[in-house]
């Protein structure tokens, strides 16, 4: 007897509404962007098919290329520092101490707070004349800094804000990982008389590596996408000193209404995000291999 095709599972109907919404607000925009990137179109004018000319123009656009460089510099720092600090924080929050729940809640406040609101306060703190940060510097005998008003420092200042804001997320992911680790290797290390550093270096860290790399992927995606804090604090300035791809994109799209060109930027940006994510996932697979 021939087997009839498998009946459709009734559970399909639970998914249909969500699939429709996801197609409408997520998949449709992707397709539309890809399509629009092939057109020369500014809102209010007639769209002209332009082939790949948007992309070839981008390849020679210095401002865009610089924005890629700014994004990569920002991302590298905004991933590396929270990974180190977040892992250290997870080691601390894994211990027992009084008021741990409350203090952990306080520690994650920066990532839950409204980004625009905290960015406004950072603007005031960075202020070269009345800002509290320059006062704190003066306490330790360092002269006033220009902070975000200095073209050389603006990206570093934005990284500082990002570290402050997102180290908690790394901490949470690594802490979740630590809770899932088996106890045996630690007991063995204790029996062998390993020092604390040895236990961390040869037992904890290797087992945590997959979780740290997941945190790295998440952090990297978020860092590449950072918009609110940069837009509020520097708007890409001074000049274009801290203009990331996202800020450049925003200006092209919603100040100049260059829909075709900005769609091309989105496509390049997306390729960059996916490529970097795949790289980190690949690293993660390798780290598993060596377990």
């Amino acid at each position: 007897m021939r087997k009839l095709s498998r009946p459709i599972s009734p559970f399909i109907w639970f998914i249909v509404p969500a699939v429709i919404v996801i197609i409408a607000v997520i998949v449709f925009p992707w397709m539309f962007t890809l399509w629009m990137s092939l057109f020369d179109w500014k809102i209010g004018s007639v769209a002209r098919f332009a082939g790949l000319s948007n992309f070839t123009e981008l390849a020679t656009n210095t401002r865009f290329l610089e924005s890629i460089a700014h994004t990569l510099i920002f991302t590298a720092m905004a991933v590396a520092a929270p990974l180190v600090l977040g892992t250290a924080a997870a080691l601390v929050f894994h211990q027992e101490f009084p008021m741990r729940g409350f203090l952990r809640g306080a520690f994650v406040l920066p990532m839950m707070a409204t980004p625009v609101a905290i960015a406004l306060v950072w603007v005031m703190m960075f202020h070269p004349q009345q800002g509290v940060l320059n006062y704190l510097l003066s306490l330790v005998g360092i002269g006033p800094s220009e902070w975000v008003y200095s073209p050389r420092l603006s990206i570093a200042c934005l990284v500082l804000v990002d570290i402050w804001q997102w180290t908690p997320l790394v901490m949470l992911i690594v802490l979740g990982g630590m809770a899932s680790l088996p106890a045996d290797p630690f007991e063995a290390a204790l029996m062998e008389g390993a020092t604390r550093w040895q236990t961390f270096r040869y037992v904890t860290l290797p087992m945590l590596l997959p979780f740290i790399l997941v945190a790295g992927v998440v952090r990297m995606i978020d860092a590449l996408k950072t918009f609110d804090t940069i837009y509020v604090i520097t708007q890409g300035g001074p000049g274009t000193a801290s203009e990331t791809i996202n800020i450049y994109l925003y200006l092209q799209a919603f100040s100049f209404y260059q829909i075709g060109k900005s769609s091309a930027v989105v496509v390049v940006f997306f390729v960059l995000v996916v490529a970097l994510s795949m790289l980190l996932f690949w690293l993660r697979e390798r780290s598993k291999y060596y377990e």
Binding site: S9, P10, F11, W13, F14, I15, P17, A18, V21, I22, V25, I26, V27, F32, V92, F97, G101, F102, L103, G105, A106, F107, V108, L109, P110, M111, M112, A113, T114, P115, V116, A117, I118, L120, V121, M125, Q130, V132, Y135, L169, L172, I173, V218, I221, D222, K225, F227, D228, Y231, V232, N246, L249, Y250, A253, F254, I259, S262, F269, F270, V273
Partner: protein, 272 residues
């Protein structure tokens, strides 16, 4: 002796870790409750003496704060409500069908910068003549709320034991009845966490409103940003406004930190 030393060291570490967050928010409080002279003083005044509510009064007087508050509540409330309505059944369906591919789409959506959704949707809303109403803002906020909800809820349904539902099948329950009467009540904690996180991330969102909202339809983050740029308002009222916007989120995080931490760790999710 060594034990006391260990405890002391741990205490120092904990203080070092939480002090950047705590001192930042204390400084925000200080700015919001000081008068303008103290706010611009150098060296800075740390403790408002006496604390003043003038900054808050100024916020309420200088613009339609309550209108923006209402906008924020309507946008985040509806975006979260719709996300639950379609996302909870979808999460259940994904868990039962083991349809991991759909979660992949959601992961990629998370990787995509918000502006890439905005360009097409902005163009579409203009063509439809919807700009100037709250509808475009609510619809784009679904980009944040639906993925979070589906992700967290499907993960939660997967952890539920299957035995009860199997017993229900034997008793002749339809898939809908299984969902409605057995799985749904059991999943309430997971759904609550998803709803809270979806609401918070929608509440915090700036870029969708910044692009799509008109003067009348601004959400709170957009409104306080506009205060900064256009009206050259003093620090005190600005800090007070920022505090008012983010205070509900901060309090919620502290009160139910355990649930929020659990939900965030589940997928490392974050909106927009």
């Amino acid at each position: 002796m060594k034990k006391t030393l260990d405890k002391l060291l741990l205490g120092v570490c904990v203080i070092l870790l939480v002090s950047p967050a705590i001192s930042f928010f204390l400084w925000m409080l200080s700015l919001a409750f000081k008068n303008e002279v103290d706010n611009l003083a150098f060296p800075p005044v740390f403790i408002p003496s006496p604390p003043t509510f003038a900054n808050f009064i100024k916020v309420f007087d200088s613009g339609p704060f309550f209108k923006y508050l209402l906008n924020s509540i309507v946008v985040s409330g509806l975006a979260t409500g719709i996300a639950l309505l379609i996302g909870v059944p979808a999460g259940y369906g994904i868990a039962r069908l083991k349809a991991k591919k759909l979660l992949m789409v959601i992961m990629i959506a998370r990787m995509t910068p918000a502006i890439s959704f905005l360009i097409p949707l902005f163009t579409l809303f203009q063509a439809l003549g919807l700009t100037g109403t709250l509808a475009p803002v609510i619809i784009t906020h679904l980009v944040i709320t639906v993925p979070i909800t589906v992700y967290i809820v499907s993960g939660y349904f997967e952890t539920l034991p299957n035995e009860l539902e199997e017993a229900a099948v034997v008793d002749g329950c339809s898939p809908w009845q299984r969902f409605r009467h057995i799985a749904l009540p059991l999943a309430r904690p997971g759904i609550t966490v998803a709803a809270i996180l979806a609401f918070i991330f929608s509440w915090n969102n700036f870029i969708f409103g910044a692009v799509l909202a008109g003067r009348e339809t601004r959400t709170l983050p957009v409104a306080i940003y506009n205060v900064l740029t256009f009206e050259q308002i003093a620090w005190g009222p600005l800090a007070a406004a920022a505090l008012l916007v983010t205070l509900p989120v901060l309090l919620l995080t502290l009160v139910i930190q355990k649930e929020i931490v659990g939900g965030l760790t589940a997928g490392g999710v974050k909106g927009g």
